[in-house]
C-alpha cells in the first residue's frame, strides 16, 4: 500500500483518483476479525472520544475556577456504625464493576468452548452486577441531591461546576451501564436458546468488548473525578 501511494503521488492526478477507486472497491478486508467485532471496536473508539471530551471539559472547569473544589473524599463518604469512611460507596462500586468484568471474560471463554449454559449464566451474573452498580449509583445521586443539596448549577461545598460535571459524567456512564445490562441480558437469552450454535459465539466477545469498555471508562472516572 505504501508502494502504491508513492507511485500514485508521482503520476498524474487522474491516476491517483483511480488508485482511490481501486482501493475502496476491491473487496479487501483490512481487519481480519468478524465484522461485528471491528464495528464494535470502532464504536468504542468514538465513545472514547466522547468520554475524553467530558473528562477534559471537567479538567478545564476545575482548573479555571478560583473557588475551591469540593473534596470528593468527604462528599462521597458514608457513615458506617458512626464512623465516616471516605469514598466507601465508590469503592464498592469499583469492586462491583471489576467483578463483573471477570465474569464477562469467563463468559466469552465458555462461549468459544461452546458451553452455552455456562456462558449464558455468566452473562446474566455480569448483567446482575451491572444492575447492582446502577442501583448504587441511583442511591448515590439521591443522597447527593436530597441530603447534600448538590445541583448542576451549584452546591453548598464549593465550586458550582462540581455538580454539572458530576451529573454529566457519571450520568452518561450510568446510561452506558444500563444499556449494557439490557444488551447482555438479550444476548444471554439468545445464547441460552441456542441461536448461535451455527453462527458461532463471537457475539459474546463483542458484547464483552462493550462491557469491558464500560468498566474501563469507570477506571478513568474513578481516578480523575473521585480520587484526584
Amino acid at each position: 500500500m505504501a508502494h502504491d501511494a508513492t507511485t500514485g503521488a508521482a503520476g498524474a492526478s487522474e491516476a491517483r483518483w483511480e488508485t482511490m477507486v481501486t482501493d475502496w472497491s476491491s473487496d479487501k478486508q483490512t481487519f481480519r476479525v468478524p465484522w461485528g467485532k471491528a464495528m464494535m471496536w470502532i464504536f468504542l473508539l468514538s465513545d472514547t472520544f466522547i468520554f475524553s471530551c467530558f473528562l477534559t471539559g471537567y479538567m478545564n472547569v476545575r482548573l479555571s475556577t478560583p473557588v475551591p473544589w469540593p473534596n470528593p473524599s468527604e462528599v462521597f463518604g458514608l457513615e458506617v456504625f458512626g464512623v465516616n469512611v471516605p469514598l466507601l460507596l465508590i469503592g464498592i462500586m469499583t469492586f462491583d464493576l471489576i467483578t463483573s468484568s471477570g465474569t464477562m471474560a469467563l463468559a466469552v471463554n465458555f462461549g468459544y468452548r461452546r458451553d452455552r449454559g455456562r456462558a449464558a449464566a455468566l452473562m446474566f451474573i455480569t448483567a446482575a452486577f451491572g444492575a447492582i452498580f446502577v442501583g448504587m449509583q441511583a442511591f448515590e445521586w439521591t443522597k447527593l441531591i436530597t441530603q447534600e443539596g448538590i445541583r448542576p448549577w451549584g452546591n453548598p461545598m464549593g465550586a458550582s461546576q462540581f455538580g454539572a460535571t458530576f451529573f454529566m459524567i457519571t450520568g452518561f456512564h450510568g446510561l452506558h451501564v444500563s444499556a449494557g445490562v439490557a444488551y447482555l441480558s438479550i444476548v444471554a437469552m439468545k445464547v441460552l436458546r441456542g441461536d448461535y450454535e451455527k453462527r458461532g459465539y463471537e457475539i459474546v466477545e463483542i458484547a464483552g468488548l462493550y462491557w469491558h469498555f464500560v468498566d474501563l471508562v469507570w477506571v478513568f472516572i474513578f481516578a480523575f473525578f473521585y480520587l484526584w
Partner: protein, 125 residues
C-alpha cells in the same frame, strides 16, 4: 483465524482478575494519602495498569493483528493535544478570573471620571 476465536487458558483470566482487584484496592488506598505529586503519580500508575490489563487481556487486544491495534489505539493519542490545550486554557481562565474579581468594583455613576471602573462593574453583571 481460528474458527473458535480468542481462546486462552482460564488460569490467565483468574490471574488478571486478581491483579485488577489488587490495583483497585491500591487505587482506593491512595485516597488516604496527602494530595501531592506522590498521590497523583500513584493514581495514574494504578489507572494505567488497570486500563492496560483490561484492554490487553480482557478485551484481547494483545492477541489482535497490528492493523486493528493501531486503528483503535492510535487515534486517541490526538486527545493529548486537546488535553494540553485545555490545561493551558484552564490556567489562563483562572488567572483572568483572579485578576478580574480582585479588582475593586466602583458603583456606576457614583464617582465622576471613573468611567473605566464603571465599565468593569457593568461587565461583571
Amino acid at each position: 483465524m481460528a474458527a473458535d476465536g480468542q481462546q486462552h487458558p482460564l488460569k490467565l483470566y483468574f490471574w488478571i482478575w486478581g491483579l485488577l482487584f489488587l490495583f483497585s484496592g491500591a487505587s482506593y488506598a491512595t485516597d488516604f494519602l496527602q494530595h501531592g505529586y506522590f498521590r497523583w503519580g500513584l493514581i495514574l500508575l494504578f489507572m494505567f495498569l488497570k486500563a492496560g490489563f483490561i484492554i490487553g487481556i480482557f478485551m484481547h487486544m494483545a492477541w489482535e493483528r497490528v492493523a486493528l491495534i493501531y486503528a483503535i489505539l492510535g487515534p486517541p493519542v490526538v486527545l493529548l493535544v486537546l488535553i494540553g490545550l485545555m490545561a493551558v486554557e484552564g490556567d489562563y481562565t483562572e488567572l483572568t478570573r483572579l485578576d478580574f474579581f480582585s479588582a475593586p468594583l466602583v458603583p456606576a455613576g457614583h464617582e465622576a471620571g471613573a468611567h473605566e471602573g464603571a465599565a468593569g462593574a457593568e461587565a461583571a453583571h
